[in-house]
C-alpha cells in the first residue's frame, strides 16, 4: 500500500503548539508536500495505565476474554489460541504488562494467550488513545491494540464499529496496519493503511501506537509520525464513530488475517505493553 511519510513537529514544538491553544479540531490536512503536521493535540490524561505496580492489571479497568470465542471458532477469525487470564499468559513484570503466547495443548487448542478489554469499565467517545508496545514476531503472530463500539451487545459487529489502532503480522516485522471497520466496510473491506518503518522494526524496541479521534476524523500515528487520517468521506458506509468505545489488547495466534504459525515460529512470544493512556 501507498504510504505518505510526513515530517512532523518534534515534542517541543508540539508542546508549544498546545500552549498557544491549538484547537482540538484543527488538524492540518494530510498532503504529500512538506507541510508540518501535528501528531497529537490532546494532553489531558484521563486514563493512565503504566503497569508499574502489582502483578496483575487493574481490575477496575481491565477484564478478560476467556476461551476461543462465543462460537468456539477462534473469535470469528479462525484464530488458534485459547485465551486465559493465567499468569503464564498475562502478568505485570518489570514495568510492563506482558502478554505471553505459549505453544501448549490447552482445552483443545494448540496455543494459549490473552486478551484484555476495558468493556463496561472504561469507555469513551473521542480522545487520544495510545499505547507504548514492543511487539512479538514470527509467522502467525498477531498482536493488536484496538477498540470496539461499547454498544456491541445490542448492535452486532460490524454495526457497532471497530477502530484498529495497531494490528501486526509477525511475518512482516517492519509494518503495522491501522483500520476502521463498520457496516459495509468490515473484514477484508475495512478501511486500512499500513505504516512501515525504515531501518527499524517493531519487535526490537518499544513504539507508540495511537489515534486522535474527534467528531469527523480518526488520525493514526506511530511514534512521531502521523500516517493516516480517516474521515466519513473515506468509509463506504455509515460513520459509526460518534459514540463511546472500549479498548482491547490481545495477542492472537494464526487466523485469517495472517495464516498459521509454521515450524520456524519461535514460542513463547511476548507482547510488552509499557503503558496505555487516554487523553481528552
Amino acid at each position: 500500500m501507498k504510504m505518505n511519510r510526513i515530517p512532523l513537529f518534534n515534542m517541543k514544538s508540539i508542546q508549544a503548539a498546545v500552549k498557544v491553544g491549538l484547537s482540538l479540531t484543527l488538524i492540518a490536512t494530510l498532503t504529500q508536500c512538506n507541510d508540518t503536521q501535528v501528531v497529537t493535540t490532546l494532553t489531558n490524561v484521563v486514563l493512565d495505565q503504566s503497569f508499574d505496580e502489582g502483578t496483575t492489571p487493574d481490575a477496575g479497568v481491565w477484564t478478560y476474554d476467556i476461551g476461543r470465542g462465543p462460537n468456539g471458532d477462534g473469535w470469528g477469525n479462525n484464530e488458534l489460541q485459547y485465551y486465559t487470564d493465567r499468569p503464564e499468559n498475562v502478568r505485570i513484570e518489570g514495568g510492563n504488562l506482558i502478554i505471553t503466547a505459549q505453544e501448549e495443548l490447552f482445552e483443545g487448542a494448540g496455543y494459549t494467550s490473552a486478551r484484555l478489554l476495558s468493556k463496561d469499565l472504561f469507555e469513551q467517545q473521542y480522545g487520544r488513545f495510545e499505547a507504548r508496545i514492543q511487539l512479538p514476531w514470527g509467522q502467525g503472530i498477531w498482536p493488536a491494540f484496538w477498540m470496539l463500539g461499547a454498544d456491541i451487545d445490542e448492535n452486532v459487529w460490524p454495526g457497532a464499529g471497530e477502530i484498529d489502532i495497531m494490528e501486526f503480522r509477525g511475518q512482516t516485522p517492519t509494518t503495522i496496519v491501522g483500520s476502521v471497520h463498520g457496516p459495509g466496510y468490515s473484514a477484508g473491506e475495512a478501511i486500512s493503511k499500513e505504516f512501515t518503518l525504515t531501518n527499524d522494526r517493531f519487535d526490537t524496541g518499544f513504539h507508540v501506537f495511537g489515534i486522535e479521534w474527534g467528531p469527523d476524523y480518526i488520525n493514526y500515528y506511530v511514534d512521531d509520525v502521523l500516517y493516516n487520517q480517516i474521515t466519513p468521506e473515506d468509509v463506504t458506509g455509515d460513520w459509526v464513530f460518534d459514540k463511546p468505545f472500549f479498548i482491547l489488547i490481545n495477542l492472537a495466534i494464526g487466523g485469517d488475517f495472517l495464516g498459521p504459525p509454521n515450524e520456524e515460529t519461535v514460542f513463547p512470544q511476548q507482547m510488552l505493553i509499557d503503558y496505555v493512556r487516554v487523553y481528552n
Partner: protein
C-alpha cells in the same frame, strides 16, 4: 551441511597453501603492534560499479581463473556488475569457480549489520557457498551461506553479520565458491551476476538465535588426550521481509564454556581438550545470546589403544594403521545416500589415529587411486570397538568391494562380498581383532579392491575402527 562445510574448509586450507604461491598478493602489509586499531576505514562498499578502494580479486587455485569479470552491459544499477561464468564440470581450465575479494588493508565493519547485494542467474541456479571473512588467512570471521538460490530476475540478498563488534579490522570482504550443476563431470556451467555489493546498516537484522551442534544436544564419548571440535556453528537472524536467514559462522564469533574443566576445556576455536575422566557439557554464546545445542561429552579416561600390529610390513597392504605406510584413501566416510553415519578418521589421541563412526547404519571407505591388488594376500585384519551394550540381534557386516579391471566403480565388472559377525563375536568396551580369510568373502577377484564397507543397520551405532590391512601368512 557439516560435511559440505568441513570439505570446503579443508579445500580452502589446501588452496591457501597452494594458492599463495600462485597468486601474487599486491602491496606489502606488515602487521604491527603499533597499528592504530581505531583507524581502519569504515567503508562498507565492496563493488558498486567497480572495485572499491583496496579491494583485490584472488581466485582459488584449481578454479577457473578467468571466471570473474566486470560486466558493463548487464547490471542492476549504475554502470557495471560482477559477472561470474561457472565452467562446465569437465572444463580443463578448472571445474569450478571460486575467489576471494579481500582488502588486505582491513576495514572497520563494526557499524554494519549485513553484507547485501543484488544477484541473478542466466538460469535458476544455486551458488554453493557465498559469504565474507575469507582472506586466505585464519578466516576467523568466516561466514557462509550454503546453497544460495538465484532466479533469472534481480533479487536482493542479505547475509547478516553474526556479531558486527568482531569486525573492527576485517580483510575478507567477500568470497564465493560454486560448481557446475549437477556436481560432476557432466554438470552444466552457468552465469550469474552480482551488483551493489556492500556492507549496510539495515537496522532490521534481528532476533539472533545462535546454535552449536546444529541446535541439537549431542552426546559423545571421548578419551583423555583427544581433541574433538564443536561443530554445526550457525547464527540465524530474522530479516525485514520476515525470512529467517541462517549462516555458518566461524568459531571465533562464539564464546565457549565447559561445565567441568577437569574433564575438558574448550578454546576460542571450538577445539576441546579432553583432560580427564567424567562428563562435561560444552555450551556457547554469541554476542551475549546463549546458543541452542550442546555437546555432552563423556570421557572414559585414558584411551585403551587397539593392539599394535606385529606383522612384517613386507606381508602387509595397509589401508589405515599407524604401524604401516598406508595405501592412499579417498575417504573414510562416503556419506552415501541413506547412510546416517557420521564421523571418519578424525580421532587423534596423542598420535594414535583412530576412526570413529557414530549413528552408524552403514559406511563406505574408498581407496581407488590406486586400487589394491590383494591377489597374493590371505587375510583382512581390522580392530573394532564399541562402547555400547551388546544385544542378541546386534551384528557387524564387513564387506569388500572390487572395482574390476577397469579400476572404476560400475562398468559391469565390480564384485563384492561380505562376512557377518553376530552378537557372540562382539564385546562392549573391548577391542575385538578380526582376522578374516579373504577366501570367506567369496570374491571372484581381489586384484582391484577399492572399498571396505561396514554395515550394522543401526544395531551398533558407535564404532571405533583401527588397523585395517590386508596380509599374507
Amino acid at each position: 551441511m557439516n560435511s559440505a562445510m568441513n570439505n570446503s574448509l579443508i579445500k580452502l586450507k589446501q588452496l591457501f597453501f597452494f594458492g599463495s604461491g600462485l597468486v601474487l598478493l599486491s602491496g606489502c602489509w606488515t602487521p604491527s603492534d603499533e597499528v592504530d586499531f581505531a583507524g581502519f576505514p569504515q567503508n562498507g562498499d565492496v563493488f558498486l560499479d567497480g572495485f572499491s578502494g583496496g579491494l583485490e580479486y584472488l581466485p582459488f587455485a584449481g578454479s577457473k581463473l578467468n571466471a570473474f569479470q566486470v560486466d558493463d552491459e548487464v547490471f542492476y544499477q549504475g554502470t557495471a556488475s560482477m559477472r561470474f561464468d561457472v565452467p562446465n564440470g569437465d572444463d580443463p581450465d578448472g571445474n569450478y569457480a571460486g575467489a576471494i575479494f579481500p582488502d588486505f588493508g582491513g576495514r572497520d565493519l563494526t557499524g554494519f549489520d549485513a553484507i547485501t547485494f543484488w544477484a541473478k542467474g542466466n538460469s535458476a541456479t544455486t551458488i554453493d557457498e557465498i559469504g565474507f571473512g575469507n582472506y586466505f588467512g585464519d578466516n576467523e570471521h568466516l561466514v557462509t551461506i550454503l546453497g544460495l538460490r538465484l532466479s533469472t530476475s534481480w533479487q536482493k540478498f542479505v547475509i547478516p553479520i553474526p556479531d558486527p563488534t568482531k569486525l573492527s579490522r576485517e580483510q575478507g570482504l567477500f568470497w564465493y565458491s560454486t560448481g557446475a550443476k549437477p556436481a560432476g563431470l557432466a554438470g552444466q556451467g552457468y552465469t550469474f551476476w552480482i551488483d551493489e555489493l556492500q556492507f549496510e546498516k539495515l537496522g532490521t537484522v534481528a532476533q539472533p538465535r545462535p546454535a552449536i551442534m546444529n541446535g541439537a544436544d549431542v552426546e559423545e564419548t571421548s578419551f583423555t588426550g583427544s581433541s574433538p571440535s564443536v561443530i554445526g556453528l550457525t547464527q540465524t537472524f530474522n530479516l525485514a521481509d520476515g525470512t529467517n536467514q541462517t549462516v555458518s559462522a566461524a568459531p571465533s564469533y562464539f564464546s565457549f564454556s565447559s561445565s567441568n574443566g577437569s574433564v575438558a576445556t574448550v578454546n576460542e576455536l571450538g577445539v576441546i581438550s579432553v583432560l580427564g575422566q567424567g562428563t562435561t557439557t560444552i555450551t556457547a554464546s554469541l554476542g551475549g545470546v546463549p546458543a541452542s545445542g550442546s555437546l555432552i561429552l563423556t570421557s572414559t579416561g585414558a584411551f585403551d589403544a587397539a593392539p599394535t600390529p606385529t606383522r612384517s610390513a613386507d606381508n602387509v597392504i595397509s589401508i589405515f594403521s599407524d604401524a604401516y605406510e598406508n595405501n592412499p584413501v579417498d575417504f573414510f566416510n562416503g556419506y552415501w545416500t541413506f547412510s546416517t553415519t557420521q564421523g571418519q578418521d578424525d580421532l587423534n589421541i596423542a598420535g594414535d589415529n583412530v576412526i570413529r563412526y557414530t549413528a552408524l547404519n552403514f559406511v563406505g571407505i574408498e581407496f581407488k587411486a590406486p586400487t589394491v591388488d590383494a591377489s597374493n594376500m590371505t587375510h583382512f585384519h581390522v580392530d573394532l570397538r564399541t562402547p555400547e551394550g551388546i544385544d542378541p540381534g546386534d551384528f557387524i557386516r564387513v564387506e569388500l568391494g572390487d572395482f574390476g579391471p577397469d579400476n572404476a566403480f560400475g562398468g559391469g565388472n565390480d564384485v563384492s562380498g561380505s562376512v557377518t559377525f553376530g552378537s557372540s563375536s562382539l564385546r562392549t568396551d573391548e577391542w575385538i581383532s578380526l582376522d578374516i580369510p579373504l577366501s570367506s568373502f567369496g570374491l571372484g577377484s581381489r586384484g582391484n579392491l577399492a572399498q571396505i564397507i561396514f554395515v550394522t543397520d543401526g544395531t551398533v551405532q558407535e564404532l571405533l575402527v583401527d588397523n585395517m590391512y590386508f596380509y599374507s601368512e
